[in-house]
Symmetry: C2
Amino acid sequence: VELTSLFDDLARAGQEPATKVLEYTIAPASDDIAEQLNLPIGSEVLTVRRLRSSGGQPLALMTNHLPAALAPDRPELEQAGLYQALRSRGVHIRLARQRIGAKAADRDEARLLNEKPKAPLLTMNRTAFDDSGRIVEYGSHVYRAARYYFETTLVDR
Amino acid sequence: VELTSLFDDLARAGQEPATKVLEYTIAPASDDIAEQLNLPIGSEVLTVRRLRSSGGQPLALMTNHLPAALAPDRPELEQAGLYQALRSRGVHIRLARQRIGAKAADRDEARLLNEKPKAPLLTMNRTAFDDSGRIVEYGSHVYRAARYYFETTLVDR
């Protein structure tokens, strides 16, 4: 299984990804986020919420938390994907743990994604680690079910 | 990524999987299924539809198509998982391609899974290959979103 980001995948497929940054906040981590990032409570953390579109239609709503020291600039995140921005800062993501599920859209998600409330969404929660084993980001994404799926190949060794 | 089946995973987690076979039909393949299985149109194919429960609650609705020559018996499929039944016939599944998405439950799915119509479901379509590269099964599964997710670990080599 290859490690790619949504932005990279869309760009490669000629799908013209576009990103709107809805929230960009650097603040002390909540207990929950500190635990997800394996940081001391109160560490400075970037929370970024982005709306990703392709072909002019909304596709995904992405919330990501990163240690503030790794935070890309806001304009950088309008232009490129998060992983691309991290790579340009010398961060190499080595491993990611993903949990893929489904949920019904809440009002806010429905409005932003141009779906009806309670429409089915595909969800992905991800923790990414760099070469040293440090947690680089924790992300929580929702995708419109009619517009996205994950493909994986499993091999029995 | 390790290749396991839902039945194996549940059994390992002490979740007491139970299976009800809703349909078991051996018949000539439709054009679509023949193509999915890479068989000549009209080849004999087993179509099996099963309801999987754990802890006494419905969890997944699974439709699978297999070349008739590999078909496990109906009672076998009430007792064990499909992959376990195939293994006991000497079939080794080497590789599987999965597509994971989400959808809204239709009336039939909602009734069988004890969900409301249009409830979000997690979907998985899978094509499995044996050591010789032959397609062994094509499956189309839906899972209750509140009860199931997929976990994968991605490594950048």
